[in-house]
Symmetry: C2
């Protein structure tokens, strides 16, 4: 009898963003003329940089001619792309990463979801709370998280990020083996200094732990003192894997390209503490279960590193950060506590009420979509996340609507809260 | 301590095609002037159909403009592509498949590698021998296959395909739960009739088993009596998942697009034989661990179904089948037994000697690369696979070289066999 992996039954029935989409669809259905402004899901809205468009057209033409046609590429990515990533994203910032430590893929979500496959099922994992749900869900599917009670799994260590600790979690008090860190953080927009990151690297060394460092929003960092990569910390190579994406830097969410860095001295353990290079395991995983990224897309990613590409990407980042500033200023002016939005496209707003209630009131009274914080974990239950990925004028309009309807939103929340059956 | 999934240590250290690539590199190094002809790995050589090129350029232009830019697409694929697949690949052939049962992805290798995640770890799997190594390797990684001894895993049921049974395996004699079938077969090139496929569907119903049907080479079928899809068999929807690809039909190996069909009444079992729809599990897997296929690539796949695209794909298939006929005729004329090559791009040749020895002699005496059958399993140990994916003139030259050097190859094999230390 073909029996199922019952890990899947322990998951919430719907992925957070599908749940949001459903509520938005309901609203659209009952308000067919409303102009909805989506500041929920972190999807970019600006077109691809012109340098990438040119590279795409050129590579498509190569695919049209027998002499220049490309079939299967290396599963790890083409050397032309791995080389430029190693040089420009790492070596030029003083991080000692070589091109054969770079694995090009079709998305950070895929890579960080798949990476846990490399480990035994009895490792202890730690995640920040609030957290990007994929880190947890993929471990639930793998059967690594124990039973769920009141929104938390018994075998996961939750590193709480609250106003009290300025959204910077303490080190775990009992040992953990695999630590998911994300900076600039999704959803809180919080950043990390070199000194704070050093603490985590030291913890990993002392506990033979591994850090999965999600740096998908690295390109939003403006403060020159902040680390862009965990490999800017001495000795991090041994204990950290880093994930980066072209989705939010160059607007590749619909094009699909990312990469993962697995340093060649990054190790994990077998029986009797014998150690193995993690890179060879990931290489085996990718060559067996993946077939590389579309050639034209890799050419577009390569074009991001040209002078023209770099300047166009900078304009994109500036554009979204201008949006972020508008959103943050507006919520601050209405008296909310906010983090993020300066080195990050996300603003994390303390709404001090149930986050789905706020989501519903905001949607119904203004047509603006946010993300309810509870979708990211218990510590998000009175927060919302607002994304700066949208058209500037749409952001201005959203903010204006919210400001004008703020009293009505608050009344509606009070009404909803009184009448809700929990 | 971060401990590894030791399933990976039970794998052969190198993936078959990496092993071949290494030997070819060595040969290239010692014969820098030799013109190597690669008939090993099944990679296409002809450029993309013009209909696809046009669709790519058009969609790249859409990505350049704010009004038509596409960010994240649906993880399951765009409706425009799912609809045309359901209509043209299934409904028009009398197979009752709807668009919401189609999941577009970046490759059949990825999908068939990932699909086993949905099942519990104690299911019994059955594979044909010889077999595409990914089916086995991904189950080894998952820890489902027991220990390895003399090239076979203790918990896998091997369905032997030999000259004696005309490479058509018998039904398993002890119950299995998950059956990997591949038709037209890789590597043997063997095809399956409706009547024979009905036996497997009936077996799956009787044993509450599931068939993973790999139809990546479906477009090579010429005989109008042969089934293109397992869903041409009545009641197969309940017990079969089908995998298809644009790689070998429209030459997308470097572009990356495929799809998987999970019918909405296809079920697997939980505890107490409670049953669940597999489609919801796969949908949860894909929405959590995957982010959809590149938009321009989906537009190119859509163009495959236009009249222009269909006619261009037919030309590509005809081209490779002409190569296949040349290869098969040549080996038949030299006295070898062959299967495949008429409804398949692969020719499976009984060389009656150790397959790596034949591989080495063929490479060293003619510069032609084949795939040693042992790479596909014990039943392939005296076979080689030759792929028809190459330039027609290169194929003619390869065949000419082999014919002219045939005696030298045989002598070399005899010499190698005598001097080899086993």
């Amino acid at each position: 009898m073909i029996t199922l992996n019952m890990g899947y039954k322990r998951l919430d029935p719907a992925y957070l963003f599908s749940n949001i989409a459903e509520r938005v669809n309901q609203y659209e259905h009952s308000h067919p003329k409303a102009k909805i402004i989506k500041l929920g899901i972190g999807d970019v809205t600006e077109p691809l940089p012109d340098a990438c468009i040119k590279a795409l057209h050129k590579s498509v033409d190569e695919m049209a001619s027998k002499k220049t046609f490309k079939g299967y590429g290396p599963e790890q990515g083409y050397p032309f792309l791995r080389d430029v990533i190693a040089e420009k994203d790492y070596q030029q910032r003083g991080a000692n990463i070589s091109s054969d430590e770079i694995f090009v893929s079709d998305g950070t979500k895929c890579d960080i979801a798949n990476f846990q496959e490399l480990f035994s099922n009895d490792i202890k994992i730690a995640v920040m709370d609030p957290v990007y749900p994929v880190y947890i869900d993929t471990n639930v599917m793998a059967g690594r998280t124990g039973v769920s009670y009141l929104g938390r799994f018994s075998s996961i260590t939750y590193l709480e990020c609250t106003p009290e600790n300025n959204y910077m979690p303490d080190l775990p008090t009992s040992p953990v083996d695999l630590i998911y860190l994300c900076y600039p953080n999704n959803p809180t927009g919080q950043i990390i200094t070199k000194k704070e990151l050093e603490k985590w690297v030291q913890y990993a060394h002392e506990n033979q732990a591994l850090i999965l460092y999600d740096a998908a929003y690295e390109s939003f960092i403006q403060d020159p003192e902040l680390p862009h990569s965990i490999y800017e910390i001495p000795d991090a190579r041994r204990v950290a894997v880093e994930f980066r994406s072209f989705s939010k830097s160059a607007g590749f969410t619909g094009l699909r390209c990312a990469y993962t860095v697995v340093p060649d001295n990054c190790r994990a353990y077998g029986v009797n503490e014998s150690s193995y290079t993690l890179r060879s395991f990931w290489n085996r995983r990718q060559t067996t279960k993946f077939n590389g990224v579309s050639y034209p897309v890799q050419c577009a990613a390569h074009a991001v590193y040209s002078d023209e590409g770099q300047s166009q990407v900078k304009s994109l980042i500036d554009y979204y950060l201008k949006n972020a500033a508008v959103i943050r200023e507006a919520f601050l002016s209405m008296g909310y506590q906010c983090t993020g939005g300066d080195n990050s496209p996300y603003i994390w707003i303390n709404v001090k009420t149930d986050s789905w209630t706020f989501f519903d009131s905001l949607l119904n009274k203004t047509g603006v979509v946010c993300t309810p914080g509870i979708g990211f974990g218990n510590c998000g239950k009175t927060f919302i996340r607002i994304s700066a990925f949208n058209d500037y004028h749409a952001v201005l309009e959203a903010v204006e609507r919210i400001k004008q309807s703020h009293d009505i939103i608050l009344e509606d929340i009070e009404y909803q809260s009184k009448n809700k059956t929990y």
